[in-house]
Amino acid sequence: MTIRVGETEHAQSFQKAALPLLEDAQLRKNVRHATDVIQRKRGIVVGETPDWQELRTAGSAIKAHTLRYLDQYLLQFEQACTAAGGQVHWASDADDANRIIVGLVQQYSGSEVIKIKTMTSEEIGLNEALEQAGIRAHETDLAEVIVQLGGDKSSHIVAPAVHKNRSQVRQIFRERMNLPDLSDDPEELTAAARHYLREKFLRVKIGISGANFLVAETGSVSIVESEGNGRMCLTLPDVLISIAGIEKIIPRFEDLEVFLQLLPRSATGECMNPYNSLWTGVRAGDGPQHFHVVLLDNGRTGILADAESRQTLQCIRCGACLNTCPVYRQTGGHAYGSSYSGPIGAIVTPQLLQMRQAQSLPFASTLCGACYEVCPVKINIPEVLIHLRGRVVREQKSALDPEALAMKTAAAIFTSRRRFEAAQRLGRVAQWPMVSHGWMRNLPGMLGNWTRVRDLRALPKQTFRAWWKARAKTDLTRGPSTPLRAARNLAQDYDPNA
C-alpha cells in the first residue's frame, strides 16, 4: 500500500520549513490579516447563535457515532448512491484512487477536467497523476486558480491562497492570463478570473469535485462554497467524479441541519454559505449524466483503529483551528509540508502516514488549546498531539537520543527528593561560568535555543525549599508567628534579584 499525503515525503521538518516563511514579511502580514478578519467574523456569528455549544456537542456526537459504525454507513451510502444512478469506487490508497480516476477520465475520452473543492485530490497528488496520463486539470475555485497559476502550494484548508495579497494575485494573473494592463482592483481581478473560468466551464465535459458530506441514508453528496464556481463544475459537465475520504459520511439527511450551521460559521464566519449544493445520483436531462464517487481510505482506517486519536476523523475541514492558532499565524500553512496545515494538519498528516513521516508536526504546537476551543466538532487537538508525541517518542526515538537521555535523567531526578535537592545544588554551582550579573545570556547545547532571544535568570542563592527550611527554624525560636510578623519576615527575606 502506498499511503501518500501530497509531497510530505519530501518535506522538511516543521522548524526548518518555517525559517524562510518567518523571513517573508509580506506573507506573514497577509496571513495575520486574513486570519484576523475571518476570526472576527466567526466571533460575531457564533456569538449570535445561542445554542452554539449544543450544536458543537451534537456535531461531535453525530461524528463519533458515525465513526463507530463507519463500515455500515459506508455500505448504506454505496447502496443508496448506486440506486440513484451513481457508481461507487473504493480506493485503498493514493495510487489506487489516482488509477481509478485516470481510468474514468480515459473511459469518457477526456483530455481535460475542471476541478472544485477537493483537498483530497491534493492529498493523493491527483493533478500530477492526471498530467502523467496526458490529462489537463483546471482548478476553478478562485483561490485554487491563484495557487495553480502561480505554481504555488495551498497554505490554508479553506482559503488556499491566504498567503497572497491582491497585488501578488494581479502579478500572477497578468503573467498567466496574458493581461498586461490588469489593475489590482478586486472587481477587475474577479472579472479576469470569471472570463478565464467561464470558457472552461462551457467547454470541459468532465468535472472532479471533493465532498463536504456524504449522506448514507440517501446517497447524496454535498458541497458548500462561496463563489458558485463549484455549482458550475457540479452541473455543467456530462461526467462528475467526486472523491471523498471515508470519514466524510454522515448518517441521515437531517444531520445536515447541524453541520450546515457549524461549518459556515466556523469556516468563513457566515451564517450560511452562499452556495449549498446537494445532489443524489443522476437525473435524466438535468446535470451530469454519469456520476462516480471514489471513497478513499489512504490511511484513514489506521486512524480509526487508534481509540485515542480516532476523534481526528471527526474533522469537517472548517479551518477555524488554523485561524486561531498562534503558531499557524506566524508561518502560514506551507511550513506543515502537507495539504493539511495548522493544528488539524499537525494531527492528520502524520497519522495518515502511520507516524513514519512528518514526525515534527505533533511538536509544532504550544498546546495552548485555542484550536480545541473553536473546533465545531470538539476534537481535543492538544490531547491528540500529546498522544502522538508519545507515539513518536516510543516508536521512533532511540534510547541514546540526547533528548531522551535528558528526559530520562530528569525523571530520575524528580522521583527522589534527595536527587532533586542535589540537582538544585549542583545547578547553582555549575551555572557560574555562564552567569553574568545574575543572568544567563548564552547557554550551551539545546538550551542555546532559549538564550538566542531570551535571557534566563540565574538560579537564586536560595531555593524555595531552602528558604522554607530556614524559616521553620526561625519560627521555632520566635514562637508562633503572627500574620504581621510573617509579613515583615517575608518583606525582609524577599529579594527578587537574589
Partner: protein
C-alpha cells in the same frame, strides 16, 4: 496560627498544603514566598511537604508519558491527605486535572485511580483557592504600580479561570491595571516548544512583547511563572524596562509593607 480577620466571614482556618512546582522552587522562590505570606496573612496555615518535586507535565507533554507516571504517583502519595492543595501555576493544575485521571486508569491500579478522584476536588490553583474556597476578591493587597495581566493558556482554556485573576487584581489598592491586547493569545513558551521550535516561539514572543510594551506597564503578571519567565526573558533581553511578578507577588503585600520590602 489561625485567626478570624473578618475576610473569611468566620473562623474557617484551613491547612493549605503548598505544591510550589519544581521550577518555582528552583528558579522563582519569590513566588512561593509570596504565596506563603498571602495565605498566612489571610488567616490560614501553610504546609510544605518537602518530599514534593514535579507534577510530570514536562515529560507528559513532550511524549515521555511513561516517565510521568511515577511522578503522578509521588504527587498523589504526598498530597492524598491534604485538606487543600494550593498550586501557584495553572499549567501544573491542568496537568493534574486533565491528565492524572487518564494516567491512573492506564496504570491499571484501581487504588490509584480512586486516590486521584478523591484528591482532585481538593486541588486549587492559587486564584481558585482565594475566590472559590476562601470566598475573597479583596485580599487587602497594596501594589502601587502600572500592571498588565497576561491570561495564560491553561488558566483560560483548561482551568477556565475567566476573569477570576482580574477580579482579584482590580481590588488591589493603588494598582493601575491596564488591559493587555490579545490577552489570551499564547506567548509562545509551550514548555519544550520554546527549545524545539525556537524560531517560531521567538516570533510568537515578539508579538506578546509588543502587546505588553504598548500598555506602558511596569509589571507584567500572570498566574504562571513559566509564561512570565518566557515573556520577561524576552523583555529583559530587549532591555524593555518591564518586570515580571507572579500574581501572588501582587496580592501578598499590604500597605504596611511599604518601605519594608522590595514590593513597595
Amino acid at each position: 496560627m489561625c485567626w478570624d480577620d473578618g475576610y473569611t466571614g468566620g473562623p474557617s482556618c484551613l491547612r493549605v498544603s503548598l505544591f510550589i512546582t519544581c521550577y518555582n522552587d528552583t528558579l522563582f522562590p519569590a513566588t512561593g514566598q509570596a504565596v506563603v505570606h498571602l495565605i498566612e496573612r489571610l488567616g490560614h496555615t501553610v504546609d510544605f511537604p518537602l518530599e514534593q518535586t514535579c507534577c510530570g507535565q514536562m515529560h507528559y507533554n513532550t511524549g515521555y508519558q511513561q516517565e510521568a507516571t511515577p511522578l503522578m504517583r509521588r504527587f498523589v502519595e504526598i498530597f492524598r491527605d491534604a485538606e487543600a492543595v494550593c498550586i501557584p501555576s495553572s499549567s501544573c493544575v491542568a496537568m493534574i486535572r486533565d491528565h492524572y485521571p487518564k494516567m491512573a486508569a492506564e496504570a491499571g491500579d484501581p487504588g490509584l485511580e480512586r486516590a486521584v478522584d478523591e484528591l482532585l476536588p481538593r486541588v486549587y490553583e492559587l486564584t481558585e483557592l482565594l475566590v472559590h474556597r476562601f470566598g475573597l476578591e479583596d485580599v487587602g493587597a497594596y501594589f502601587p504600580h502600572r500592571v498588565t495581566y497576561h491570561a495564560s493558556c491553561h488558566s483560560q482554556r483548561s482551568l477556565h479561570l475567566g476573569n477570576l485573576p482580574l477580579r482579584l487584581l482590580r481590588k488591589v489598592r493603588g494598582i493601575d491595571l491596564v488591559e493587555l491586547p490579545n490577552i489570551d493569545r499564547c506567548c509562545g513558551f509551550g514548555g519544550t516548544f520554546a527549545i524545539k521550535m525556537g524560531d517560531i516561539s521567538a516570533a510568537m514572543l515578539a508579538d506578546k512583547m509588543k502587546d505588553v510594551e504598548n500598555t506602558g506597564a511596569e509589571v507584567v503578571t500572570a498566574v504562571d511563572t513559566s509564561c512570565l519567565m518566557h515573556i520577561f526573558g524576552g523583555l529583559h533581553r530587549a532591555r524593555a524596562g518591564v518586570r515580571m511578578a507572579h500574581i501572588a507577588e501582587i496580592l501578598a503585600p499590604t500597605e504596611s509593607d511599604v518601605g519594608e520590602g522590595a514590593w513597595a
